[in-house]
């Protein structure tokens, strides 16, 4: 399905697989295979869409070959491996379906490139659960946004424009009156400033102090007496005020991005936030909004979830899916020597190349990818949402966007390549 386009090669309302927040209002101009974002671009989407097309031909040990030869070689590598590792897993729904089918057949371990960070959320889900919301609820209902431990606008440049400082909201008279509060990291720019010029409130502290600060905030929400005057450089009075604001808000939203919570046992901080949100819901409404969804990570977790029961780091070598969120990382399986071949899947971002490893490597990657060390097999594939249709999940887990084909590049899709490898086995 091609998006409707006028004669000038202009595509409107194009959804993005890159930004994680489901932006679908891009206007894109395609000339031959060159893509230009001409409306509603951002620092994440524009370069990702405009990345020029690179190699169209697969390579085996650096030599250009026909697709069939590259597929044969890849199959040979997987066949001779005793424990293949499938890393990256940055692809669309069909690409992930094909990866899981191939992993099941070859007895591989799968591990998404962002799972190390995502695990900070998944451990909370496995252990205690959460109360969450989605972007349209934020846009229409949130009267308070608490941003914990991340610089929202550098990760999601259009978040404030699309979901907070919106012209319309069903249940708020004036979206400019939403309260925005940062806890931990300081915003790098001014996106969080309201249209009338009101800056976000910032309660800054070093990342290392976030576990304590969040624990104190939860205690204050619960009304526990505390015998301290400050934590992480933030006064208890300020935190007490924040606790009261959360309780008074009609629909508070607490957001975090696990990629930014990069400190040991960050899952405990996420859990503390999530338990605090549950406790707030005894009297008012409050919801979490975990942010991620880049490099197709949410897509990969979802598809793996419905086909195996587990989000990632699944070992198929025993003939059934075994989940171990620590032992089954590509990193640890390369370090302990048990993984002896690597299939790296990365169809969105040419910068996301495979880890350095001496094991035999197959890369199914976005055309244009450059390597420090040439993998044994490189198969350039189309990018979902540019070269072929597909589906990608948004950060809020509920919404899958339909990705469109914008150009004819002759590149195969990741799913076609992986299926061909499986057929060859």
């Amino acid at each position: 399905m091609m998006t409707e386009t006028n004669e000038a090669g202009i595509f409107k309302q194009v959804p993005s697989p890159f930004c994680g927040v489901g932006t679908d209002d891009l206007t894109i101009k395609v000339e031959d295979t060159a893509i230009r974002v001409i409306e509603n671009g951002c620092a994440v989407n524009t370069p990702a869409f405009e990345q020029p097309l690179g190699d169209l031909k697969p390579r085996v040990v650096g030599k250009k070959v026909e697709l069939k030869d590259a597929v044969d070689k890849a199959a040979e590598i997987l066949r001779s491996a005793s424990l293949p590792l499938f890393g990256g897993l940055a692809t669309d729904v069909n690409g992930m379906r094909a990866a899981l089918s191939l992993a099941d057949k070859t007895g591989a371990i799968i591990d998404n490139m962002n799972f190390g960070a995502a695990l900070r959320n998944f451990l909370v889900v496995h252990d205690s659960g959460w109360v969450n919301t989605t972007l349209a609820e934020v846009k229409n209902r949130a009267d308070l946004l608490l941003v914990v431990g991340c610089d929202l606008e550098s990760l999601f440049p259009r978040f404030f424009e699309r979901y907070i400082w919106t012209a319309d909201s069903m249940f708020l008279d004036d979206t400019g009156k939403r309260q925005v509060i940062y806890l931990g990291k300081i915003p790098s720019g001014f996106a969080s400033k309201s249209p009338s010029g009101k800056a976000a409130k910032v309660l800054a502290c070093p990342d290392a102090d976030l576990p304590q600060v969040v624990a104190v905030l939860r205690a204050l929400v619960k009304g526990a007496p505390l015998n301290i005057t400050e934590v992480g450089g933030i006064s208890i009075t300020e935190l007490q005020r924040l606790a009261s604001q959360l309780k008074k808000a009609a629909y508070g939203v607490v957001t975090w991005a696990v990629s930014a919570l990069d400190f040991p046992q960050a899952e405990l901080t996420v859990q503390t936030l999530c338990e605090m949100i549950k406790e707030l819901n005894r009297s008012t409404r409050c919801s979490g909004l975990p942010l991620g969804g880049k490099e197709g990570d949410q897509t990969s977790f979802q598809v793996s979830g419905w086909q195996t029961g587990y989000p990632s780091r699944v070992d198929f070598s025993a003939g059934f899916p075994e989940y171990d969120p620590y032992l089954n990382s590509v990193e640890s399986r390369l370090a302990d020597g048990s993984g002896d071949a690597l299939l790296w899947i990365s169809t969105f971002n040419v910068e996301k190349t495979p880890p350095k490893t001496p094991v035999r490597k197959i890369v199914v990657g976005r055309s244009g990818m450059q390597f420090d060390r040439e993998p044994e097999v490189f198969i350039p594939v189309g990018t979902p949402g540019i070269d072929h249709c597909g589906h990608a999940y948004r950060t809020d887990n509920v919404v899958a966007v339909r990705l469109r084909k914008l150009r004819e590049s002759a590149l195969p899709s990741c799913s076609e390549v992986l299926s061909a490898i499986e057929q060859t086995l």
């Binding site: 399905m1 309302q13 959804p15 679908d24 209002d25 729904v93 069909n94 379906r97 089918s101 099941d104 998944f122 889900v125 496995h126 252990d127 205690s128 659960g129 109360v131 969450n132 919301t133 989605t134 972007l135 349209a136 609820e137 846009k139 229409n140 209902r141 699309r162 319309d168 069903m170 249940f171 009609a250 629909y251 819901n281 008012t284 409404r285 919801s287 977790f301 979802q302 598809v303 979830g305 419905w306 086909q307 195996t308 029961g309 587990y310 989000p311 198929f316 003939g319 059934f320 899916p321 075994e322 989940y323 249709c389 589906h391 887990n397 509920v398 919404v399 899958a400 966007v401 339909r402």
Partner: protein, 555 residues
């Protein structure tokens, strides 16, 4: 290819065939009349075997966001039931929240050939279809959820005419690729977003000034007027609340003859009598169902084991989260559309309430007279995983087994139930009605659920046994669209079923106000919201089957 099934004892309620020895002929995936002179390519001797159409589960949570949340919540549950890969089958996991692949295999192994996801949020329908697209063998379909979506409530608050609402309902059925419409806790999921904690039938959503009664009448009218075959599928107010039988009875009265399907009615049939202030309302509910022919129900039987409850009703799931076992749960508000709540449960036979819930479900099964208007469900996985069906069938068909089981539950609950005094045993014919012919009829699947000429050859063959659990656990043969997919309870071929949908007519003018609403309030463009046919078909194995609307509705 012409296949002959010779000499089986056929139960085909649509044609009032009750255990008659018949030959069946299959060609090109369809049941055909006896051909005059064709050569039989393959013959199965079914003498002494029981032959029914493939079973249809008309209410089972097999796809969509909340199911996947349930999976993510319960790694330990999957570990307890790993499903191994074979030459033919993909690996996966079973139990309470099985993987999609294992779901298809296990349903087929029990003789089921279709399953319908009852709670497809419009915004999440794409995911539901993608998950169902990874369920092998079964046909599938979904009921799209309305009734707490802000667009509908805004229309109702603005007193838009019924015709405009019908257009919106039809547009949503198209966009979500649905076969029916469901409402869950009408207005309640929405009210919870405004911090209302209860919403009884005549309470108003504070923001919109609309009551569940208004919503039910409005949607049931739309569904009827549009000619949607399946009556409005209703998960009522006050799920699980002691005394909710009165809400259910009032809901039936409120319909004033409009067709309505009350789902998992067991969870809505509670009284407040006795020391525990929790009692069975089954007799009153069954009587009301018997008396009102516009009402159909499925039961939502519970079983004593670990499961997980996954519901759109986050208002009630939040209220019930204290019962989570293990102690973890998820609630979500979703896209001004609806919500969901996922709470693991372990129903225990020595717990008074759980034990009585079990008895209430069985009482309803046994007190409702007309098997064409009651369906066999556990509301998978909410009451129990679907793999409990053979056990449930035995409970219905075998009163001495039922009494043995009754003797093992909490003794006060057993005493509080009339179950011991109920003599009824379901016949094979009635089971075939409830799980085949009736289910196909209420969904408008004219070529499924029966064995007449022209029917899709979805056929299950059992060996009759005294132990009905054993009988229904392991069919001798299952044919899906004429292909043998199961032999002796094991998959021998993996096929891919179709997705059943309906496409009522509507005035496309509704898209004007929808486009404006999407641009202003939603986070997706209207054009990107609609699910196109190629999304379901493009993988080469998915397909769509469009069923005509009921006569009386628009063409």
């Amino acid at each position: 290819m012409l296949i002959k099934l010779t000499g089986g004892t056929v139960y085909d309620p649509k044609h009032e065939i009750n255990g008659e020895v018949r030959d069946l002929y299959i060609r090109d995936g369809r049941v055909i009349e006896q051909p005059s002179d064709s050569k039989i390519d393959q013959e199965y001797d079914l003498s002494g075997k029981v032959v029914m159409a493939g079973a249809i589960d008309m209410h089972t949570h097999i796809g969509g966001g909340k199911v996947n949340i349930a999976r993510m919540l319960l790694p330990e549950d999957h570990r307890a039931d790993p499903a191994c890969r074979s030459e033919l089958l993909r690996s996966g996991c079973g139990n309470a929240a099985p993987s999609t692949l294992t779901t298809g295999y296990r349903y087929a192994e029990m003789g089921y050939t279709a399953g319908f996801e009852p709670a497809m949020l419009p915004i999440n329908a794409r995911q539901a279809h993608m998950e169902m697209g990874d369920i092998p063998i079964l046909d599938k379909g979904g009921y799209v959820m309305l009734g707490s979506d802000d667009f509908l409530l805004r229309m109702m608050a603005a007193k838009k005419d019924q015709q405009a609402i019908n257009d919106y309902v039809a547009w949503t059925i198209h966009s979500a690729q649905a076969i029916g419409v469901k409402v869950v806790n009408p207005g309640g999921i929405n009210a919870f977003k405004f911090n209302q904690r209860t919403l009884d039938l005549d309470e108003k959503c504070a923001h919109y000034g609309v009551s569940p009664r208004d919503i039910l009448v409005c949607l049931a009218t739309a569904v009827k007027t549009l000619g949607v075959n399946h009556p409005l599928h209703v998960h009522g107010c006050n799920l699980g609340v002691p005394g909710n039988k009165d809400t259910t009875l009032n809901t039936i009265r409120a319909m004033d003859g409009l067709p309505l399907h009350l789902t998992h009615i067991q969870f809505h049939s509670y009284g407040t009598e006795g020391d525990f202030k929790f009692s069975s309302g089954a007799a009153e509910i069954a009587e009301a169902v018997n008396r009102n022919r516009n009402i159909s129900i499925d039961v939502g039987q519970i079983m004593f084991k670990q499961t997980v409850t996954a519901s759109g009703d986050n208002m009630r799931q939040f209220a019930n989260h204290h019962h989570a076992n293990p102690k973890k749960w998820v609630c979500m508000d979703i896209e001004c559309d609806a919500g969901c709540g996922v709470v693991p449960f372990k129903y225990r036979d020595k717990n008074f309430v759980n034990a009585l819930q079990w008895a209430i479900g069985l009482e309803i099964f046994l007190l409702v007279d007309d098997p064409w208007r009651i369906f066999l469900t556990t509301d998978h996985p909410n009451g129990a995983p679907f793999t409990s069906y053979p056990h449930l069938i035995r409970l219905l068909m075998d009163k001495s087994f039922r009494r043995d089981m009754l003797a093992t539950i909490h003794s006060d609950a057993a005493r509080a139930s009339t179950l011991a005094s109920i003599e009824r045993e379901y016949s094979l014919y009635e089971i075939a009605v409830m799980t085949r012919a009736g289910a196909a009829r209420i969904l408008g699947l004219s070529d499924r659920g029966h064995l007449g000429a022209g029917a899709a050859a979805d056929i299950t063959v059992y060996t009759e046994r005294d132990d009905k659990q054993k009988m229904f656990e392991k069919p001798d043969y299952v044919f899906k669209d004429g292909e043998l997919v199961v032999r002796n309870g094991e998959i021998v071929k993996v096929t891919w079923g179709t997705t059943h949908v309906i496409r009522p007519e509507f005035d496309p003018g509704i898209e004007k106000s929808l486009a404006d609403y999407f641009d202003r309030y939603m986070t997706m463009k209207l054009g990107n919201f609609k699910i196109h046919d190629d999304e379901i078909r493009e993988d080469g194995r998915g397909n769509l089957t469009v069923h005509p609307c009921r006569i009386g509705g628009p063409a």
